[in-house]
Symmetry: C2
Subunit: 580 residues, 2 copies
């Protein structure tokens, strides 16, 4: 392809609203242009990258036996009312009315429509399993769109939905998708991790996220450098840091700690390690019958409560911090001085595993300006209910026993999810089993953020000059920069020939025929991030030489003109093999 036919639109300056490097570079390299908050035009180069991403996804989805179809963008409310999502979802679901004042929505995903299709088309166990997917525009009316296309409102997503006879079948379908996703992100040349995720409110029995590792990622990932273990911080299991509880050595003592309401301050004030203190958090949770129950959660002073884990304490699904009145009722005290000793018997006390193994610990005295030291379970207060309540921290033992965990940040680009029968039961999506009995289909759903992947790849691959694309995502694999295309017949003839030969060899090559100065050409293509560059000019031609340079090479190499074609082909093939 010729550059003059690619509508290059590079910019010197990034837009002022661009917070992250991928957003800045996507605009500067001419991949996208903002139309509205979270809504972008994809310029020709951006669309070309999307097509490459789609092609890898489609290839691996088909290879995994999934079947592509296309569901509508605009979907009727009725189906979403069947599952309750019409009411349950927040304003990120864009609800609209047609000319006849009937309710519709713009799809954020398509569980309802695909389940409707399955209940209409699939009658018998013989038709199962089946896995439908589409690559299609989605819309989520984010309250605060940001990071360019990474958290946009209109975006492209691959969404797949598997239908199985039973849970065993679902597990197989899920594993097939897990493996396909692993191949997809590998082929894209990304550093990623499959991460155990929380199942969320949707229910279902298992879920993993695929994260591209990047500092600006919105999720924290707990992983073990020595093994495959990785989990979203939300879901990462935290073992007790104390294998056994030490025997009590101190008496429980009430100590004045005036104005010291945080563990760190109390520890400092008392000259004790922070790891000796316990934080007491009082929550109120609405129960099924409508009354409110109180829970005191205990976390070691240097730890943080994990709200997802807390929400799994029986009775705490819907909770909030206790009010002053509730605190008074439970502890007869003020926030900042709470503790588990002597609270009202109606309060359920739950201790994090580590806290449950602590001895001689410090906690609030339930009296303003006082803490207790030397507190011991079983002696000063009853044995607690122990659960995993805290966020993992760097250095925690890995749950798989393979060493200590580290924490990094990730951008979620994929999610595989065992839905189970939540949708099929709500919508009556059943099949007849071998005994002729109607059974709900067992579903899984599997998403990949197509457009988000562009941003994630750029967060991983960039330098001060621009984007560094993996070969499989680059808008072009190779650029040929002629020095004096319009001036030198010899240059023109040499580059035109090389261009034709590389096209014939199946290389995605662009010839910069714009007639720009070398500095402008080089800067543009480094900004755009093309992996390999060939420069041909009269000076080199005099010695039958061309210049070859990889995007991240410090120096260019002189290559005999007669070998340049093979050099390029070999470089592209090697780069592809590295990620295949």
């Amino acid at each position: 392809m010729k550059a003059s036919q690619s509508f290059l639109a590079t910019l010197k300056e990034a837009p002022s609203d661009a917070e992250v490097v991928s957003h800045k570079l996507m605009v500067r390299a001419g991949l996208i242009r903002k139309l509205n908050a979270g809504i972008y035009n994809y310029l020709p180069l951006g669309l070309k990258v999307i097509r490459k991403v789609e092609s890898i996804i489609r290839d691996e989805m088909n290879r995994a036996g999934a079947i592509e179809l296309l569901m509508p963008m605009i979907q009727p409310a009725e189906l979403w009312q069947e599952t309750g999502r019409w009411e349950k979802m927040g304003p990120e679901l864009l609800r609209i009315k047609d000319r006849h004042d009937r309710d519709f929505l713009i799809q954020p995903t398509s569980e309802e429509v695909v389940t409707d299709l399955a209940r209409n088309e699939i009658k018998s166990y013989k038709q199962l399993p089946v896995n439908f997917y589409q690559i299609q525009t989605k819309f989520r009316d984010e309250r605060r769109p940001r990071f360019g296309i990474m958290r946009g409102r209109e975006f492209s997503m691959k969404d797949a939905y598997s239908f199985d006879r039973d849970t065993e079948g679902l597990k197989k379908s899920y594993q097939i998708m897990f493996d396909a996703y692993t191949r997809i992100f590998t082929r894209m040349g990304l550093r990623f991790r499959a991460v155990t995720a929380d199942n969320g409110a949707i229910g279902g029995s298992g879920s993993q996220e695929f994260h591209v590792i990047a500092d600006i990622g919105e999720d924290a990932i707990v992983y073990c450098p020595n093994s495959d273990y990785a989990a979203n911080l939300e879901a990462a299991e935290s073992l007790s840091l104390l294998a056994v509880r030490a025997p009590a050595t101190q008496d429980m003592t009430r100590i004045a700690t005036p104005d010291q309401t945080h563990c760190a301050d109390v520890a400092k004030f008392l000259g004790l390690p922070l790891e000796q203190t316990v934080k007491s958090l009082l929550f109120a949770a609405e129960q099924a019958q409508g009354e409110v129950a109180l829970f005191m959660l205990l976390i070691r002073g240097d730890h943080e409560l994990n709200e997802i884990k807390a929400s799994k304490i029986p009775g705490m699904a819907q909770s909030r911090f206790a009010t002053e009145t509730e605190i008074k009722l439970a502890c007869n005290s003020l926030a900042g001085y709470l503790g588990p000793v002597g609270v009202a018997p109606t309060v359920t006390i739950v201790a994090d595993h580590t806290v449950a193994n602590m001895a001689d610990f410090v906690c609030g005295a339930n009296e303003a300006g006082y803490h207790l030291t030397g507190v011991n379970w079983g002696r000063d207060l009853p044995e607690p209910m122990a659960m995993d309540l805290r966020n993992a921290v760097v250095g925690d033992p890995s749950p798989d026993g393979k060493g200590a965990v580290d924490i990094c940040r990730g951008i979620e680009v994929g999610h595989v999810f065992q839905l189970g029968t939540r949708y099929s039961e709500a919508m009556g999506c059943t099949y007849l089993d071998q005994q002729g009995k109607a059974q709900p289909m067992v579903m899984g759903c599997y998403g990949i953020g197509v457009t988000r992947l562009l941003g994630a790849a750029i967060e991983q691959g960039n330098d001060e000059r621009g984007i560094i694309w993996p070969i499989s995502m680059a808008p072009f694999e190779v650029v040929i920069c002629p020095m004096g295309y319009d001036k030198s017949e010899a240059v023109r003839s040499a580059v035109d020939q090389l261009h034709s030969e590389l096209v014939a060899a199946g290389i995605d090559v662009v010839l910069d025929d714009r007639g720009e100065r070398p500095g402008v050409m080089f800067a543009d293509w480094e900004l755009i991030g093309v992996p390999f560059r060939v420069v041909i000019g009269d000076r080199g031609l005099a010695d039958s030489q061309a210049e070859f340079k990889g995007r991240t090479d410090a120096e260019s190499q002189n290559i005999p003109l007669s070998e340049i074609k093979e050099k390029v082909i070999a470089a592209v093939q090697t780069a592809k093999q590295l990620i295949s």
Copy 2:
């Protein structure tokens, strides 16, 4: 591909709301399923046909130098307010509000967004001409969606927009698109015509539609069988059927025609040919200053008024039929007995070219129950203003002088349009010319109804057994039907080998591995419309024979097994060459 991986979903019965054969067959063949009025799921086979159509379009658009990009589905109202279309368009434009109560719309086309892009990105004459296109989902909230996907609400469209320095450039860009469209529809194997269209209210200087010829088409096309002449009935020029006016031979006579208010009845009552009568139609039209002017339009009794042509009479852009009061004022009469003799001098009389050359004609006498015969221009009433006012009819002389026209019906699948500066002037989309002066870009727009093409192709290609696809649009080129795939090792081995060989040869082949009975297999594939079928069974294998049959062949042929691969490849290639 294996049929078991294609999710075949054929049906015996068509849905009750399907009015036309293409809609019936698309549902029965398992290409589409209705989700809501005018909103369809595309099942795997339907999507496969769409991809083939898109691929041909993309190929020819790229070859024509157009550049693909992607604009958002959801567009902000502001841009559409700049051009006035936000207010001007009817309820077919689906207007929506986001969570912040801001106005958006779902794109029916993208003139505003592409013009916004051009004004931001294109600064200099050096960047022109350029032609941007996208293939993207569109939404038009049709009041009465029908004919399946042919007049749906959500549909896929290729829309292109050219930007030129001047009108001369636009004409070149327009011709390039016209030629590309001709290649696109030719490669799709469709019978089509490029048809002169009315420019409509959008303005601009030239416009042609591409129609697929089909009886259920919503448009009437006037064409000359001996030449390239073709025009939408709306726009087809109608010459006078009388080369010169004959001299008057009768006196004007008032004749009682009690209760005869239609020309056909009057002619019959008087025993005169219908061609001797003139129909008088009184219209009221609002003028710029706000007052209402009256127009009497005269059409020969056997002709029909063309409203588009009438709207081009100076002062008649906004018109309606005159009220009883206005008729009384102008003619002192009742509807049914109107005529041009003796009307109030404030009424503008316009005669169709044919009427202007009539002599001794019959018209209403402006008196209830009476007509005039023997009326002659210049003698009984002033010479009229003469214009082309009527619809063309079969047998009219072709405007290009190449014989008589015929009329057929067509489905509009493409439209090329010289927009001029309507959008660029409204939106300030200018470039700097060689003198450094800002000039509005001169635009063209070019649409193809991607999903509609499926319906149009099926309207042209079907029989009582199902769809007959052109080879380039067929979901598969060839189907292999094994007799006893699960029972005979010899059959399985022979078809598996043929399948692999054809895949390797680049043939789009499907192997029916479902284990269905031959009757079911054959009926399914004829319904789906696969162009070629190979049957392999134990009986044939005993003689080393396979059966080969084209979709429209009366009989199958026995082909030696050793030659079947070459036979299929040759048949596919021949079919492709016929439409290349």
